[in-house]
Symmetry: C2
Amino acid sequence: MNGMELDQHYMSLAIEEAKKAGAKGEVPIGAVIVHDGNVIARAHNLRETSRNAVTHAELMAIQQACETLDNWRLEDTILYVTLEPCPMCAGAILQSRIPRVVYGARDAKAGCVDSLYRLLNDERFNHQCEVKENVLADECGGLLTQFFRDLREKKKKRKLL
Amino acid sequence: MNGMELDQHYMSLAIEEAKKAGAKGEVPIGAVIVHDGNVIARAHNLRETSRNAVTHAELMAIQQACETLDNWRLEDTILYVTLEPCPMCAGAILQSRIPRVVYGARDAKAGCVDSLYRLLNDERFNHQCEVKENVLADECGGLLTQFFRDLREKKKKRKLL
């Protein structure tokens, strides 16, 4: 596989994670972390199930990866995530020194990699990342669009009952 | 106690936490979360000990508070932290909807509340916070200055041996 195919392959694993979140009624966002070609962490958004504000896919994947590598520095890793990271997750990426981040769809409301801020490329911080966006973006974004459409339909039906 | 005295009281508890971190060889930063006058979370930076990039004082305190209140929304809470939050922790504050944040010293290198960004007061996000800085700032900042001075001394001695 070439670089683009590899990115699409790992993003498809992040999409599988996102679907697991959706099946639990969670906003469908998923992430995986790859180290030397091995997937060392997989996670999906669990905010409602866990009742914990910080259980975003990326943050949990970063915690798993730190545990696996027994290090807070995630050198030689790539984070794949279906949606552009929020400020918390962008910050966690900086804290863990992940060198490369690949994401699917942009998040115009809260994205802090390209949309509202460019936190991963601010030279005042002690770490910057290589960023690639728009990998399987239609599928990543489509999961979210469908999720919120279904949610609105359910709410409408509830009102009619 | 009036408002200022209360803020100083809770900040002194965050300073106690910071000292616990320092005693473990961790950068001395501490945080507490107060809900209706009760301290519901206390935490200190544990990055080196835990080998986990996300174990900042604020992030761990937020997780504890979510667990205690069994809710990802930390309504009616105040977060006290000795140092201006980094992007990750500022983002976690937004995610958990903490309404008020009180901090001690500014962090000119990575602070995202006043120094480099004002993430807690960006109306494009779905949450904004009331922020108070400079509470027992000299003591909060002094702990950090002393910690890094001691670290440099130790390194110098090691080189001389």
